[in-house]
């Protein structure tokens, strides 16, 4: 990878109000560019809000829609990752995140794992994506996973195998877990353990640090804040270095932070712990095929 200064926009969204959210995006993009960032990352569904339910078709955008053209224009100065409901060519709606650069759409990640359990009902309204792929940018190889995707370790494994240096994780994760058992900070490794965070944010911290440490990648996690239909989004956005340590961590409030990601750290980590070099794709593939066969046979 090359040196990258990334801006994390931990922000609220107005539910269903694409035009208002687009204005907020443009303001944040301008501020991030002025702060010297090369990439600005927004949360999951940043252009629409999250608890859309039957508003989904009303806010869905095709890739050639005007709001996306406006954001593409804004990406001439700074790369942008934002979230939206995509009306795909098959006319089904997907929870998508796009990477824009130089006025073009470089990559669209369609959320693969749509949680449809407990409080979540994504699979009712949106269709799943089926591709996870790293892509080349002017900063190096990047992959995007949206929120729940991270809970399936196969997703980050695939990006690792696809030689991602940086995994971006736009998210809209609600705050849950209020007992001291759940909110207790674990083994440190955090620049700001005193931050007020929900139990669910502590679980997320564990997942993201594990992802970075296992796969020797930078992880940039950008979560929503604000309240929709009684649910508070948990914030807790963070940057984790390729050694699994927190480099930046936000609390529950709206916040924008900019951090320089140093390729040197990636080099040092991969030298010390050459997981990618030693990874045996043939072993993974062979065993996955065996397991898939045995599961079909059952």
């Amino acid at each position: 990878m090359k040196p990258l200064t990334v801006s994390l926009v931990q922000a609220d969204a107005v539910l269903g109000a694409v035009a208002r959210n687009l204005d907020a995006h443009l303001a944040q993009v301008g501020a991030a560019a002025a702060a010297g960032a090369g990439l600005v990352v927004f949360p999951e569904l940043s252009l629409t809000g999250y608890v859309l339910r039957d508003l989904t078709p009303e806010v869905a955008l095709r890739l050639d829609a005007e709001p996306i053209r406006v954001l593409r224009e804004a990406s001439r100065d700074i790369d942008i990752v934002f979230g939206f409901i995509e009306e795909c060519d098959d006319h089904h709606m997907r929870n998508s995140a796009a990477y824009l650069s130089g006025g073009e759409i470089v990559h669209v990640h369609r959320k693969v794992y749509l949680p449809t359990y407990s409080m979540f009902e994504e699979g009712r309204y949106w269709g799943p994506g089926d591709t996870v792929a790293a892509f080349d940018t002017r900063f190096g190889r990047i992959g995007i996973l949206t929120c729940e995707d991270v809970w399936h370790v196969s997703m980050s494994y695939l990006l690792f195998a696809d030689r991602a240096d940086i995994i971006l994780v736009p998210s809209a994760s609600p705050a849950r877990g209020i007992t001291v058992d759940e909110t207790a900070v674990g083994d440190g490794g955090s620049p700001s353990d005193a931050l007020l965070l929900s139990g669910s944010s502590r679980t997320w911290e564990g997942l993201l640090r594990h992802q970075s440490a296992s796969f020797n990648v930078y992880t940039v996690y950008v979560n929503r804040v604000g309240v929709e239909d009684g649910t508070t989004f948990a914030g807790g956005s963070r940057v984790v270095g390729p050694n699994g340590r927190n480099l930046l961590e936000f609390g529950l409030d709206a916040e924008v932070g900019t951090l320089a990601l140093d390729p040197e750290l990636l080099l040092r980590r991969r030298t010390a712990v050459p997981m990618l070099r030693d990874e045996r794709l043939d072993v993974t593939l062979g065993n996955l095929e065996r397991i898939a066969r045995s599961r079909f046979d059952d």
Binding site: D54, V180, V227
Partner: protein, 275 residues
């Protein structure tokens, strides 16, 4: 159950609930809230949270005593008002309650209690319209689960900040918020008649039932697992029956389905739609 499993991170809960009230009131395009202040701990906590979220001058607390209410209740409510700085009003409900029951003198205590709770609700919603203020709820999770509340009465509100907190957690939050000791230390009561207490009426204590509810609801233990944990099977059965039989109170009225877009079944929009 280890104490830590029910001990709340009170600073976090305060932050979440203050944010909830502030943002949902703003989502409704409003700045103010109104709530019933009984002198009990639940409404005291909701009041303190609303005061912190909106500013005390934007919160109207109304004490609505009936002739048989304990006079100490209004005193405690006034303590909460001086503690939180909110606006305050007292509206006696005795005349209208007595006028109604003059025609039905045989009504039992439950009917009278429900009528009083619904009378208070109509006052709150009337003041809500007059003040352009949202009604803040004061029902905790324990009473919502047990059905220990009046449907369309004290259970009615626009926003309920404490509905996901068990009673023992409401006590912990009250202490964190620095509410008056007189409110925290007295036995919880619906205050329908002098000397009434929740625990005497229900036949068990909040400590006892909250410990069980945490296992039964949060951890989803079944009856045999609860017995193995030492819970009296009769108590377990009784509590489970209370939860099941009060389910109707926790849902919107049933709508007979006729079309492809029945409200709340396949016409599903967020509450914060267009806000």
């Amino acid at each position: 159950m280890p104490a830590r499993a029910s001990t709340i991170d009170a600073a976090l809960v305060e932050r979440l609930l203050v944010g909830f009230i502030r943002e949902e009131v703003a989502s409704a395009g409003l700045t103010d809230a109104v709530l019933g202040l009984s002198g009990g701990i639940d409404s005291a906590v909701s009041c303190a949270l609303a005061a912190r979220a909106l500013g005390p001058e934007h919160v109207l607390a109304i004490c609505m005593p009936y002739a048989s209410s304990d006079p100490a209740s209004e005193r405690d409510a006034r303590e909460v008002v001086s503690n939180t700085g909110v606006r305050f009003d007292v509206v006696e409900i005795t005349p209208q309650i007595d006028a109604y029951f003059a025609a039905v003198p045989d009504a039992d205590r439950m009917r009278r209690g429900n009528k009083m709770a619904r009378e208070r609700m109509t006052i709150l919603y009337d003041r809500s319209a007059a003040e352009r203020a949202l009604v803040i709820g004061t029902s905790n999770k324990t009473e919502l689960l047990l059905g220990y509340g009046t449907l369309f009465g004290d259970m009615a509100s626009a926003l309920n900040p404490i509905g996901d907190l068990y009673k023992i957690q409401v006590f912990a939050l009250a202490r964190h918020l620095g509410l008056p000791a007189s409110v925290i230390d007295k036995p919880p009561s619906a205050d329908l008649w002098a000397g009434q207490t929740d625990e005497e009426e229900m036949g068990f204590g909040y400590d006892e039932v909250d410990a069980l509810l945490l296992e039964m609801v949060e951890r989803r233990l079944d009856d045999s697992q609860l017995a193995a944990e030492g819970y009296d099977p009769e108590f377990v059965t009784r509590v489970r029956r209370m939860i099941v039989s009060s389910q109707f109170k926790r849902r919107m009225p049933l709508i007979a389905k006729l079309t492809d877009r029945t409200i709340n079944q396949d016409f599903r929009y967020p509450r914060d739609w267009g806000r």
